[in-house]
């Protein structure tokens, strides 16, 4: 099953490689990984999407907790949560296809952030499935480039 694991870790050099190294050394899956500093500059937030049965996810959480730089580990999928991913797509356009592309963009509520003569750069945020559907909505040969951020998420519960 797909799990979203949210990690708070010390914002120190090498912390990312400790987490990434743990996954590769123990043969755990990483589908996506995002990381950035939080409002507390000494802390980073890392969000990892992994796939595995309950035993594997339990081990992932326990092994992450063992890393000295890791402050908290939460399996977001086990609680009410919001997840989002951002994609930037470069789509080629011409007179014949532009109307069709515009319709698709409207359908997904996607935003054109750069419009050149031959291509759009389009932005869309949403759940991963929505991003997949959006990408699949275009003819493959019209897509010049896709860049996804990977999933980030927050727990809906307000913790004290």
């Amino acid at each position: 099953m797909r799990h979203i694991i949210s990690i708070q870790l010390e914002n120190e050099s090498g912390a990312l490689s400790r987490v990434a190294g743990l996954f590769s050394a123990r043969g755990f899956n990483i589908e996506s990984l995002t990381v950035a500093t939080t409002n507390d500059p000494t802390l980073s937030r890392m969000t990892i999407v992994s796939v595995g049965n309950d035993d594997i996810i339990e081990q992932i959480v326990k092994q992450l907790n063992k890393l000295i730089d890791v402050v908290t580990v939460t399996d977001l999928t086990a609680t009410e949560h919001i997840e989002r991913e951002l994609v930037l797509i470069k789509i080629s356009i011409d007179n014949d296809t532009q109307a069709k592309v515009d319709t698709q963009l409207d359908a997904f509520n996607a935003k054109i952030i750069d419009a050149a003569e031959e291509a759009y750069i389009v932005e869309l945020a949403g759940k991963s499935q929505k991003i997949n559907d959006f990408i699949n909505a275009f003819d493959a040969d019209k897509i010049i480039e896709v860049s996804r951020t990977g999933v980030t998420g927050v727990c809906q519960k307000i913790e004290s």
């Binding site: 490689s17 400790r18 190294g21 339990e58 081990q59 326990k62 092994q63 907790n65 000295i68 402050v71």
Partner: protein, 577 residues
């Protein structure tokens, strides 16, 4: 007080109470060595190879229970140390390794003797640090010792750039305490889990205590003994756990696992309640997981939550310091009535009658088992025994019953050949009044032979018991069993004359070829209190380690010496190593 980084580091080590450092100098650590030279409270042991430094610090730590400390230079100094670090990591040994690093200004430029020490060691340390600034030294050293020695212990590397050792800064002294929001090793024991464990123990008809290295590292020997005596339960111990409970006691069934006793493994297989204490269900213990302990409820006590449920599903887990949990269990069991387990003991005593450690002697040939038994006799079972890795390691574990913890020092998890000799040196420095024997083989001893030189320089008299069978014996045994006797590259041709070799290093060498000479040679060796003696004992080249659970088999499918001479395995067994 204005000090340079190197002086601050040395002051930190002094403040930590460090008495011995095992190391090897080089360009990046010259300032540290310069500062160390004027320090009168720390003895530095100059090894002959950095791997030897780390193994010696490891042997020192395992014997004394203190944190081992090792100091190496950048580049090859560090890479040589990695095997030692990984060895300590796998067996959860508290250790701080300090490595030099090239100056911070040239990091990343492929400078002379530069390697990414933090990157290389990341997967075999509990934690590591790179210090580029002298201001960070004191707090980082404090953190390193704190991390290495608390929770589940392990090695911590501190990589220090040369400029950080040179920079002069205002030093405010070594911090007394340290707070880390991301590392909270103190665990509150969950009393509900204790109650659940007791409920399982109360119902047990066929209980067994399965104790591992955690009982030794966690200094839980006394509590373990009390619990075992109070409950009257049988106890089996892992290779890493030997000595935590006295092996000569009647409740002890001996070691379990691949080369454990028949009674231990059969009792594990038939048990309805396994109390696992500081043990991690290693593959050498469990054999085929599908056949592992089919009837048992498993209680797992461990300091490391990730050990629980990693290999085997458990029914009750109690997380905490083994010693604390055992005390809670002992308290909780007071006044409880346990089931009568006379029938269980009767069954166990039947298994004991199989006498699975019996071996055949052959006229004119020295059996390795006999050597270990005689070593036990000559040392009254009181020696610290270190070992290398292979057949001799198993024979030492099987035929030298340890009654005290921290007397059996071996690389159980990583299985590092070459560990025994430097570890013996570290052990002798930790316990100078105890006899130290290094049981080794002609393959293993040659991996760290150079440390004979260090042992002369620092007067660490140990007795080297070389079980010389001319083979890489464990490899040969597996080839005999599982590779149709194709002995690919397991024969050691052109062995050195170990007697002359020992003599050239300034030690005493004795070669023993006849059984009649064995005991006199051992007595003579131990009579030489102040000398290292190398006993080169020519043993039966065809002897195999029995009993044995072949890879892929279950605990109840053991092979016994003289009864099942040829072990066999299946495809999954061959895959398992």
């Amino acid at each position: 007080m204005k000090l340079n980084g190197a002086q601050i580091l040395v002051d930190c080590l002094k403040s930590e109470g460090v008495k011995h450092i095992f190391g090897y100098p080089g360009g990046a650590v010259l300032h540290i060595y310069d500062a160390l030279d004027s320090c009168t409270t720390i003895d530095h042991v100059l090894v002959r190879h950095e791997q030897g430094a780390v193994h010696a610090a490891d042997g020192y730590a395992r014997t004394s229970g203190k944190c081992g400390v090792s100091l190496v230079t950048s580049g090859p100094g560090l890479t040589n140390a990695v095997t030692g670090i990984a060895t300590a990591f796998t067996d959860s040994i508290p250790m701080v390794v300090i490595s030099g690093q090239v100056p911070s200004a040239v990091i990343g430029s492929d400078a002379f003797q530069e390697v990414d020490a933090v990157g290389i060691t990341r997967s075999c340390v509990k934690h590591n640090f790179l210090i580029k600034n002298a201001d960070d030294l004191a707090e980082t050293v404090k953190k390193a010792f704190y991390i290495a020695t608390t929770g589940r212990p392990g090695p911590v590397l501190i990589d220090i750039t040369k400029d950080a050792t040179i920079a002069e800064i205002e030093y405010e002294g070594y911090p007394e305490t340290i707070e880390m929001r991301s590392y909270q090793p103190k665990v509150q024991i969950n009393t509900e889990q204790i109650a659940k464990a007791i409920a399982v123990i109360e119902k047990a008809q066929k209980p067994i205590i399965y104790s591992g290295g955690g009982s030794v590292i966690g200094n839980a020997s006394e509590a373990l003994t009390t619990l075992t005596r109070n409950t009257g339960f049988p106890i089996t111990q892992t290779l890493m756990g030997l000595g935590a409970y006295p092996a000569t006691d009647k409740q002890s069934l001996g070691m379990l696992g691949m080369h454990g006793t028949y009674e231990s493994n059969m009792a594990m297989h038939d048990s309805d309640c396994i109390i696992a204490i500081g043990a991690r269900f290693d593959d050498r213990i469990t054999g085929n997981l599908e056949k592992f302990c089919p009837y048992a409820k498993i209680i797992h006590i461990d300091i490391d939550p990730s050990s629980v449920g990693k290999v085997v599903g458990v029914d009750v887990s109690v997380i905490g310091q083994v010693n604390d949990v055992l005390h809670a269990l002992i308290q909780g069991l007071k006044g409880k009535t346990l089931s009568n387990i006379d029938t269980w003991w009767k069954q166990i005593n039947e298994w004991r009658k199989v006498d699975s450690l019996a071996y055949k002697t052959t006229e004119g040939i020295i059996k390795p088992q006999t050597v270990v038994e005689m070593l036990y006799e000559v040392t009254n079972g009181e020696a610290i025994v270190t070992s290398d890795v292979g057949q001799h390691q198993m024979w030492a574990a099987q035929y030298y019953p340890f009654d005290k913890p921290r007397r059996w020092i071996n690389s159980g998890g990583l299985g590092t050949m070459g560990f025994g000799l430097p570890a013996a040196m570290g052990a002798k420095l930790a316990e100078p009044d105890l006899e130290v024997a290094c049981v080794t083989g002609d393959g293993s001893i040659q991996m760290m032979l150079q440390e004979l030189s260090t042992m002369l320089q620092y007067h660490t008299p140990v007795k080297i018991i070389n079980l010389n069978n001319g083979y890489l014996g464990m490899v040969r045994q597996w080839q005999e069993f599982f590779y149709e006797k194709r002995y690919a590259m397991s024969y050691m041709d052109a062995l050195p004359d170990f007697v002359k070799l020992a003599e050239s290093y300034g030690h005493i060498g004795i070669r023993v070829e006849k059984e009649a000479d064995l005991k006199p040679a051992l007595l003579e060796a131990f009579k030489q209190k102040d000398r290292t003696v190398f006993l080169d004992i020519i043993t039966d080249p065809t002897e195999n380690v029995f009993p044995m659970i072949p890879s892929g088999a279950g605990h109840h499918e053991m092979l016994l010496a003289g009864r099942d001479e040829m072990a066999s395995t299946n495809d999954s067994g061959l895959n398992l190593v």
